[in-house]
Structure formats: C-alpha cells, structure tokens
C-alpha cells in the first residue's frame, strides 16, 4: 500500500508539472495577444478580427486547466475547516471529511457529465476561424475528468483513514 501511495504521489507531481506548463503557455499566449492588440491599435499593420475568439478560447482553457491544478493540489478556496476540530472522536472527524469530499465529487461528476455531452453534441462553428465549438468546450470534460479522478482518490484515502481510524493520512 505504501508503494502504491508513493507511486500516486509521483503521479500527482508529474500531473501538476504538466498542468503548470499548459497554464503558463496559455497565459503567455494571452499576454502576447493582448500586447499585440495595444500595439496594433497605434500601428495598424494587421487586422485583429480574430482577437476576441482566440482570447476566449485561450482564457477558457486557462481557467479550467488552472482550476484542475488547484483541485489536484487540494488548494481550492473554502471557508476553512473549523468545524471538524470541534467534533468528538477521530472517526467522526474522518466521516465528516469523507462527506465533504463526497459533496465535491457529486458536483464535479455532474459538471463532467454535462460538459462531455455539450462537447460531443455541439455542431456550432466559431465565427472567425470557422472551427468546431467543441474545441473550445473540450477543456471542460478533460479537466472535469481529472477532478473526478482526484475526488475519487481523495475519498478512497479518507475511507482508508476511516477503516484504520487514522486521521493523519494526507489527501493530497
């Protein structure tokens, strides 16, 4: 089991590194296009009719890949765990944390299901590049799948902790 956890931890780091590269590349592209747009306004050497469309695609992808990185790192914003400390007994605290993870999994699973339906079902094309809108939406099911996998992983770790009655098991 320890070997499996070590392997998972290595996989987490590798996935985070990949998401880091994707996010930085998308952000660099957005910065470049926005800067180019300012320059072209004063030196109109080229048309930027594609500006809105490409920015929308890049920013949409950045938001969802970035959110997946936050999810993997278990750094999403929350009010703070000040309630579980007041619960009596180790096991009740573990069950409470398991239920919180379950809430996240339910929502992310719904998001994944409907974003996949949208991506596979859309027949719309973008205006400037005439490319399928499914390309724009693809970031949602991909990142949704990552988040579902990590929610399941966190729940399994919480479940393991409940069985062992050990609240020191990290979930990320």
């Amino acid at each position: 089991m320890t070997a499996v956890l070590a392997l998972l931890s290595r996989f987490d780091r590798a996935l985070l590194a990949v998401l880091e590269v994707i996010c930085i590349a998308l952000f660099a592209a957005i910065t470049g296009i926005l800067t180019l747009n300012i320059v072209v306004r004063f030196f109109p050497v080229m048309s930027m009719h594609w500006f809105d469309e490409i920015l929308e695609m890049l920013y949409g992808a950045l938001v969802f890949y970035g959110a997946a990185a936050v999810w993997v790192a278990h750094e999403h914003f929350s009010v703070g765990d000040w309630l579980s400390k007041r619960l009596p007994g180790k096991r009740s605290r573990l069950v409470y944390r398991f239920l919180v993870e379950a809430c996240s999994l339910v929502f992310i699973a719904i998001f994944f299901k409907y974003s996949l339906d949208l991506t596979l079902g859309t027949t719309e094309m973008t205006t400037a590049f005439a490319m399928p809108k499914s390309w724009l939406y693809a970031c949602m099911p991909i990142t949704g799948a990552i988040m579902v996998i990590y929610s399941v992983k966190n729940m399994l770790l919480e479940l393991r902790a409940i069985v062992r009655d050990d609240d020191t098991v990290p979930t990320s």
Binding site: Y59, G66, V79, L83, F107
Partner: protein, 429 residues
C-alpha cells in the same frame, strides 16, 4: 421562503467547509433537482464557460501577477522606505507608515490579500523590531491592506464591472477619493491609539533622506499614473492596463535585480492558481446567478421591499446589514457573485447609482476581510504574525470603525465617490 431555503443551504455547505465553488454550484443543482427541473443542469457547463471568458475578467490574473511580482521584486521595500521618510515621525510612527505605504502600493496592486501577504510582512517585521506588540502591529497591517482594492486598480471593481456591465474605468476613478479618505480615517484612528498603546515613532527625516527615498521609489510611484492615466486617456482598456501593470512590475523587478528569471515560473504558476481558483468560483457563481434569476428571486425581493414601503435609505441600510453579516462567513468576491445578480435588479428601483453602489459594496467586503471567523486579510496576516485570529480581530476594531464610518459616508453622500469620475469622464449618460 424559497430565497431563505436557498441561502440557508448555501451557507450550510460553506460552513461545512465544502469548497466555495462547489457549494455555490451544488446549491443550484440541489434546488433544480429538488424541484423536478433536472433538465436545466444541461446548461451548467455553458453557463460556467461563458461566465469566465468575458474580456473584463481577463484583468484578474494580470493584476494578481502584478501584485506578486512587486512583492518579490523589491518594489515593496522601496515604497516602505519612502513612506517611512515621509510620515514615520508623526504620532503612531510606523503604523502611519504602514497605512501610507499601503495607499501607495494600492496604486499598483488590486488585491487586499496580496497586500497583506507581501507588503504586510515587511510592515509587520519593521514594527515588531521597533518595539510594537505583535498583535498591535498585525492589526494595523491587516487593516491597512484593505485599502488596496478601494484605490485603483482593483480586482473587486473589475469583477463588479463584469457582473453589472458598468464602466470599470469609471469605477476605478470612483474608488480614488473613498480609498484616500479610508487611509486618512485609519491614520486618525492610529494617532488616537498611539498614546494609550504607547506606539513609538521615528525621528523626523531630513529633506535629503526624503529625496533619496523618493528617487529610489520613483518608478514604482509612477505605476498608478501609467495605469489610471492610460485608461482615462483611452490609450488602453482596464484589461489591457492590467497587462501593462504586470509587464511594468516585471521590468522593475529585473531592473532592480531583485527578480530572477528562474523565479518567474514559480511566481507565474502561483498567480495563475490563485486566479483560476477565483475564476472557477466565478464560473459556478454564474450558474447560480442564472438560477436565482430563473427562480425570480430578485422579483420576489422587490415585491417584498415595495410592500414594506422601503425607501432608498432603508434599502441601503439593509444592504449594509446583509453584506456585513455575509462578510463574517464568506470571501468578498463570493459575496459579489452571490448578491450582485439580485442587488443589481433592485438598485434602479430605489434610484441607487450603480457606480457608487460598487464603491460601497467594495468597502463593505473590505470590512468582511477583517471580521472572523472568515476574514481573508486576518488569515493572511495571521499566517506570519501568529497572534490568533480572534485576538487580531479584536485589535482591528478601532480601524474597522474608521472604515465603517467612511463606508456609511460614501453610501449616503454619493458625490464623494462620483465627483472624480464625473469630472474626468463627464456625467453618466
């Protein structure tokens, strides 16, 4: 009744420590399914996608990056040194320096938490070394950091503009006078506390020291003029200004040799995670906002308010009360995302100016940053001051009162905020 049930479920999920983005989205899901309208869940991804890809919202990661670059790039030290030479000798000494340096830093950064976590550490260290008790120093640092999003540029103003479709440039200008007033009110509060708290002060700096520190801080001091000047003269939009701000912060960091190329990926990714965490909340809040409109919650509230014969003054007091209570439990941007779709429908009914309302809402969420159990600036300062959240919150009280007085003034005297944008950009059409 439905409204109460919706907000009850939302608040319960948040208090249970469910991630904010999930709590907001799941509440809408629960009520759609519970009312037999599960088919509408198909709109969830579309609403989330288009809730985040607005051009105005692009400013958020860039302003967060600008703040993080300035905190790493030595800009904060220069600003602090200049403020110390300027006001370190007046009653409250380094406390006054903390407020003035926060006001200057606010002209470049748009996030209170970034100010508290970056510049705040320098301020706190200097005050403790000068003999301030840690809890007093931490309270001043936490309170001063809330000036950040009121003085432009400001992330809450960007968000408010994106939700309500009012001009972000106008909002930026409207925040200037209330932000400076807030700083002055806090300086007065510190001067009053200086005697009873025994706050030490510096020797008065001579002109050479002031000039030297001014020269060292000259380029960082020019950033607000570049950002606000660029927007108001039409050279660039608020979103483009955020790109300029982060590029400028990066150039300054490299020019001062405090920022290394090897640091960039780490700072970039940290800023992006911070931004995307917030943007994911915005995404689910867009679905939640649409759900509240679909359920006609604003209409129900309007009917309730008109039936009670509510006038503008009473409405504003209700808003102040509601946002202050929510501020104890929710992060500021989440309050915007949850309440604005409702408030923006009610404001025109009571003839409330949407620009001034944005300033008042921002001031209110800044108070929320200082009120426990969930006060983001308290958390940021507590992470390095280690005084305990409740001790810190109690010590913040005098400054909180100062901010509240400014907030109430702005709410009922709209000209305080509206004078500058009307002067520079002309009256609202």
């Amino acid at each position: 009744m439905l409204t109460l049930a919706i907000f009850g479920v939302l608040l319960a999920l948040l208090i249970l420590d469910v991630p904010i983005a999930v709590a907001i989205g799941l509440t809408a899901v629960i009520f759609f399914v519970g009312q037999g309208q599960a088919a509408f869940l198909a709109l969830l991804p579309q609403r989330m996608y288009f809730g985040t890809t607005g051009f105005t919202l692009l400013a958020i990661p860039f302003f967060i990056l600008a703040g993080n670059l300035m905190n790493t790039g030595g800009v904060t030290h220069r600003i602090f040194r200049f403020a110390r030479a300027l006001v370190g000798h007046i009653a409250g000494g380094l406390g006054q320096v903390a407020v003035v340096s926060s006001m200057i830093f606010s002209g470049m950064s748009g996030s209170a938490v970034a100010d508290a976590a970056g510049l705040g550490q320098i301020q706190h260290k200097a005050m403790v070394e000068a003999g301030y008790r840690p809890k007093i120093s931490a309270a001043i640092v936490a309170s001063a950091s809330t000036i950040g999003p009121v003085i432009p540029p400001s992330i809450p103003f960007v968000l408010y503009g994106a939700i309500t479709s009012v001009s972000v440039a106008r909002l930026f200008l409207a925040g200037a006078i209330p932000g400076v007033t807030m700083g002055i009110a806090m300086m007065i509060a510190i001067a009053f506390m200086a005697g009873p708290r025994g706050l030490p002060k510096d020797e008065k700096a001579n002109l050479t020291e002031i000039w030297e520190s001014f020269k060292a801080a000259f380029w960082p001091l020019m950033a607000p003029f570049l950002i606000i000047g660029g927007i108001t003269t039409g050279f660039f939009t608020a979103t483009e200004a955020s790109v300029i701000a982060s590029l400028y912060a990066g150039v300054l960091g490299f020019a001062y040799r405090d920022l290394k190329l090897a640091d960039l990926p780490r700072i970039l990714f940290a800023s992006l995670k911070q931004s995307c965490g917030l943007m994911f909340i915005i995404a689910t809040a867009n679905f939640f906002g649409w759900f509240t409109i679909f359920e006609r919650i604003p209409d129900a509230l309007i009917m309730q308010l008109t039936a009670l014969g509510t006038n503008q003054t009473q409405f504003l007091w209700i808003v102040i009360g509601v946002v202050l209570v929510l501020g104890c439990f929710l992060e500021g941007n989440a309050i915007f995302l949850i309440t604005l779709p409702i408030f923006m429908k009610i404001c025109p009914l009571f003839d409330v100016d949407m620009i001034n309302f944005g300033v008042v809402m921002t001031l209110l969420i800044m108070i929320g940053n200082l009120t426990p159990p969930v006060g983001m600036c308290l958390f940021a300062v507590e992470s390095f001051a280690r005084t305990g959240i409740w001790v810190l919150a109690l010590e913040c009280l005098p400054y909180l009162v100062a901010i509240l007085v400014v907030t109430i003034l702005c709410a009922f005297v709209p000209d305080i905020a509206l004078w500058l944008p009307n002067l520079v950009m002309g009256p609202m059409p």
